[in-house]
Symmetry: C2
Subunit: 427 residues, 2 copies
Amino acid sequence: MPLTTNNPTRKSWLNVPNNSDFPIQNIPFGVFLTKEDVITIGTRIGDYAIDLGALQQLNYFEGIDLTDDMFMQDTLNDFISDGKKTWRLVRNRIGDIFDSNNPKLRDNPEHREIVIFKMEDVEMQLPVLIGDYTDFYSSKEHATNVGKMFRDPANALLPNWLHIPVGYHGRSSTIIPSGIPIHRPMGQTLPNGETTPVFGPSRLVDFELETAFITTDANIMGENIPVNEAEEYIFGMVLLNDWSARDIQKWEYVPLGPFLAKNFASSISPWIVTMDALEPFRCKGPNQEPMPLPYLQQKGKHAFDINLEVYIEPENVAPSLVSKSNFKYMYWSMSQQLAHHTSNGCRINSGDMMGSGTISGPTPDSFGSMLELTWGGKNPIVMNDGSERKFINDNDTVTMKGFCKNSSVRIGFGEVSTKLLPPFVRK
Amino acid sequence: MPLTTNNPTRKSWLNVPNNSDFPIQNIPFGVFLTKEDVITIGTRIGDYAIDLGALQQLNYFEGIDLTDDMFMQDTLNDFISDGKKTWRLVRNRIGDIFDSNNPKLRDNPEHREIVIFKMEDVEMQLPVLIGDYTDFYSSKEHATNVGKMFRDPANALLPNWLHIPVGYHGRSSTIIPSGIPIHRPMGQTLPNGETTPVFGPSRLVDFELETAFITTDANIMGENIPVNEAEEYIFGMVLLNDWSARDIQKWEYVPLGPFLAKNFASSISPWIVTMDALEPFRCKGPNQEPMPLPYLQQKGKHAFDINLEVYIEPENVAPSLVSKSNFKYMYWSMSQQLAHHTSNGCRINSGDMMGSGTISGPTPDSFGSMLELTWGGKNPIVMNDGSERKFINDNDTVTMKGFCKNSSVRIGFGEVSTKLLPPFVRK
């Protein structure tokens, strides 16, 4: 099936601002709440949210095999379960409906009134019910930085790192969409030089710049997904801020890994950008040496050229750009991650989310966490009001942006933006 | 509200075999499938499965505030969300309905026909949709055994262990009910003395003897649950076999914890035994020294005296009892685990599952895994056909049983039983 929606010369009859992340070539999927308290599945063009439930009711998806209430739901899980063929048919159809040459909806003010909302008039929700959340650790630069700081600078990478896309399980219940503030977590930490821990607010709250991919039902329990088929089961991607409390993490994580240091919050951008929309930005990933074991070997291009930015915005102060990175730096590809994850027969469901791990680039201004950017707090970053940040302060807002760009089109994720409130105090 | 259902002198008009785990004082909750392909929520008395959906339709729950289809569902999540008061009203009512002195259902053959099934005629399902699965590591004996084997025998416990109920996130998608066979997992391991890993079937598949508790909606994100309120949010318990591949675990688990070594399967017993049913078996847990930090301090009895047994049954060979342990040995209580889990504001939902961690007792015959029972394979266990086991062989069935017993009543879990099939081979 041709990806007609990716045609870079196509224009929409809806206004798309210059440099928008959401031209008619994007067509991401999300879930939003209207002012009338209606929840629906939608897409976005320019600064308009489009109600796909209403479009379906008005018969705009005629000829595509969909259940009657496919888009009148509060999660995308069922749609994602329908598989890649259906995703493409729907995305192509949406492209057609909003093509500047198609008068059907364009010239029907009554339908437009029902279908189209201003972005400022809707509230974005979590796009999927996330059954299981896995976080990988697939940036060689990040793993090396962490190893240098906390372990042996001469042997920064652990012995398994070049052989395994290392990952661990995260908490689904605290994944939130952009815009929801969080509290600085309380927790147990061991003060430097002490042998008895204390309980109190984390002093070292950090962001982690990540992307994540959303899967469809991929296998039955006990069966693996071969690496060369894995991309068939990836619906799309979001930006992910995997909030971390470094002091809690340090005290708790040996031997079973991070737990309370991570599970107080993970924020994602609300629009899932499909792999089809990202296809023009496919590129070669880093050279893998030593060669991975056969079940992880793949040919062709499996990285994606996605520009990433992180901003810190203190209250009432203009935001500062603190990191510029790129998803293409990731050592392990998403298909290798998924093949590894299922190599033991682990079942993957529609709506599962898999994080990349912190995405650090090769230069110090491309590191994906404050831990690395300030090198453990040694080199604070100066904000626009002259204040310094070693980690994130109360009432700071952390915003991540992501976009792909070539000479003819820009496809973006919008942003994931989260304010860190002071610790919760029981009244 | 009195726990009338716990009255040990009460008898049911349904036959309950001697030594049954399911007298009228138990009244566990589960989900089963009938031969007519109907899924319903149910309970069990003796060897009978009782259709609570049918009981509700026939008005036996009149006067209790329940949504119309409360029990005509394929998971218990909504019922659990209704909270402790409703659980008690329903459990007490079921006790009344089946009390030997109550003729209402007893003497209505038409209703009995609709409501009561033989256990052999139903197929037990997962009782809840498990949103998040957390596994703790709360047996001091187990943590000490593992530390002695793999780290420093003189300092077997890690520095954080006596201060934190250490836990980590597991995988929900591969939690299965008793009776579903699993495949020996494939995976990446590092052969002894080598520097290059290999991929193949795990050679060291092990069980872990655990219990798990199921929570109700407990908090809003960002808020904690005080340790002295935590028991209000625990619905009940099941037996858990947390399958583990020791060779995969050894190679993958540093630094982010176990992943593929655990997430190929976790088996649970299908009936959730309520905390109310377990109340008579509450007992004092081990002395905690050093004293935990204030947010983990609690008074009173928070352990439960639950006998646990593990059997290995090679194909066509009588099962061997390989371990006898008890839940009362756990160092950290379930309420401490839940208070710790939410101390950072982590959200707990209805249907979340929290495993105890391997339950090892003080003596070598009470250890909760083959790793410990055979001390890393050094002391194999002999089966009834003379064959030896260091770990679990293909086609072995591992069965765990659990029950509480005092002079007047026995309350049990039934069993969790799982056959280990050879590795999956793609055709």
